[in-house]
Every structure is written in C-alpha cells, then in structure tokens.
Amino acid sequence: MGIDWGSASDQELWSQATNELAGEAFGELFERHANRVYAHCFSRTGSWSMAEDLTSVVFLEAWRRRTEVRFSGDCALPWLLGVANNATRNAQRSLRRYSLLLAKLPPPEAEADFAADAAERVDQERLAQHLLCSMGGLRRAEQEVLALCDWAGLSYAEAAVAMGVPEGTVRSRLFRARQHLRDLADDSQARCMHLNRSPAGLLAGGTA
C-alpha cells in the first residue's frame, strides 16, 4: 500500500484504528515509543523484567482505551506514559490481567544475554530502587510528576496530558514534590540505607 508509516504522525496512525490497517499502525506506534515506555516502566518499578512485561501491558491497554487517547501536538507518547503510570501503580493487577498474553512472549532476557550491559543494568536497578525508596514518603501524584518531568523528560504541557490535569497543576505539583523530596532527604537516607548505594554514589561512578 502507499501509506508510509515512518512519516505518518501518531495521530494519523491512531486514525487507522477502525480499519484493516489498524494492526500495522499500532505496530508502528509500538516501534516508535516502546523504548520510552520501557524506560518509564523501569523507573517506576526498579525492575527490568517487570518493565518488559509492563511495556506490553501499556500498549494493550492503550488499544483497549484507544478512544480515550489525548495527543500532545501530534504525539501520543505523553498519554502512553500516563497509561504506564496507571499500569505501574497497580503493577501486579495489570500483569495478572494480561498474564495469558504475556505468557506467550519470550521470557524476560537472562542477564547472560546482554552480559556487556549486565553490570550497568544491575546498577540501574539499584539506583531505581533507591530512588523509589527515597520517594516513598511522597504522595503518589508527586512521585508520578517527578518521574514524568525529571526522569522521562516531558515538558509541563506533555506531563499535563499524561496526568490528565491542567498545566498549572503540573507546575505546582512538581514544585511541591521537589521541595517535599528535599525535606525528606535525611529521613530517606536512613530509611533506604539498606539498599546499599545512594544515587549520588552511583552518579559519581558514572553509571547513571
């Protein structure tokens, strides 16, 4: 066919959802955004293997909720990260819902399969778990806005699409979240000490 998926916008791909090209179009959306969704799921769970499963869950959920999509400009990524927030919030429930489909996929890769990156991946898991522990004292919405803006790199406007709130709310929520995180720094340092390496230590080691 004459459709050039590579140059079609997300919105154009989404518009194919009702016709015979829907499968191909969603495949292209997956190809385009899977890595960002994967990274976001990882930052919210601290587990690479869980992030692999949740990436599939996010796109299956996106298909199920396709009529609710909101675009930021032409881009569906912010909304997909919002779906990822929901999926990771109730990760076990999300994984249970799609367990039959996930069982048909290859199991999460063993560390030996990417030995060169294994050490870095382990470090990133520790870092993510430490950060998640540090953020444990924050409200869920504060954790999510930090993950979207500071980690996933979304703009205020994009985060607003992801969270389904006005942009002003994102700004004030992010401000409060950062302040709250600073206030809790001493407490979280002690509380998360069992996780061995702090983010600062990892950053000094150049792995993050």
Binding site: G23, F30, N35, R36, E52, L105, P108, W151
Partner: protein, 168 residues
C-alpha cells in the same frame, strides 16, 4: 535530576520487542476485524432507514462502485468534494491510453514528496526533500467514473456521498 535520561537508557531487548510488536499487531488486527464484521448489521439497518426516509437514490452513494475511467484521477487535500484537488494522469505508450492503476499510491507519493499537504489550497512547488507525512487516504469513485482520493478515515466516501471505489 535526570537519573533515567531516555537517551541513555537501554532499549527493550530485541527478541522481546519483536515478539511483543507481533502480538500487539495480531490482537489489534483481530479486534478491528471483529468490529468490522459486527458492523454490517448496523449499517444495513441504518441504510434501510435511509431508504425509507429519502428514497432509493440515497443508497447508491453508500455502496461500492468500480472505477470505470482510469485515464485520470484526482488527489484531494481535504475531505470535501469542493476542496482543492490536483488531477493525475499516467501517460501511456504512443498510440495507447495511459491508465492510473493505483490512484491511492500515486496520491500518497505526492503527499510523501511534500507536493501535497493536507488542507493545502494548491500544489506546493517548493517542497523540501525528505519524507513528508502521508495521511490515511480513501479512494472514492467520482461522478464521471474516475478515482478521487481523499484524506480521511474509512467512511469518508460515504460522508461525501460518493461510492467507495471497488477493489476490482
């Protein structure tokens, strides 16, 4: 505080990515197909109501019709029969007529090259190189039997009161 900068994060493992994409495509395609199959009953009921209300003439535009004249075709930039369109024709060998075998492909190529842009009022002669976005395109049969290609989702032809072009 970009601990997980997207560009520095590992990509989804290749084997998993391919399998997950394939699974998603199959589920989406299967689901879309079921939805399309479920529609005819509703469409038939709706069509019957239109027939009763407005007479048989209304049905003609709701069905497929073959393209009978392939010497030319039109590429529209808006889903509007009075909107801008450029006529396309494929020259044949001397002594033979040209034939636009696949109007959708040719119109898509014009969009891809940037010569046509959705909503534009004219062909853009100063298009930049590279791949430009191609909208979803629907092929309808114009009143003179030629193909008319409109940007828009499935169902665009019916909305424009034109028959969709039959595949063969």
């Amino acid at each position: 505080m970009s601990y997980f900068h997207p560009e520095r994060m590992p990509a989804l493992p290749d084997r998993r990515r391919k399998a997950a994409r394939l699974q998603l495509e199959q589920i989406v395609a299967g689901s879309a197909k079921r939805r399309r199959r479920a529609k005819p009953a509703a469409i038939m009921a709706g069509t019957a109501a239109i027939v009763l209300a407005t007479g048989a003439a209304a049905i003609a535009a709701a069905v497929y019709q073959p393209v009978t004249d392939k010497t030319t075709a039109r590429c529209f930039t808006v889903a509007d029969t009075s909107g801008f369109a450029t006529e396309i024709a494929v020259p044949g060998k001397p002594g033979t007529k040209g034939a636009v075998q696949n109007a959708r492909d040719i119109c898509a190529a014009l969009y891809r090259q940037g010569l046509l842009t959705r909503g534009a009022q004219r062909v853009n002669p100063r298009h930049s190189k590279g791949n430009h976005p191609v909208p979803a395109l629907q092929v309808c049969t114009w009143t003179d039997g030629t193909a008319a290609v409109f940007p828009g989702p499935r169902g665009t032809c019916a909305k424009l009161n034109l028959p969709a072009a039959a595949r063969r």
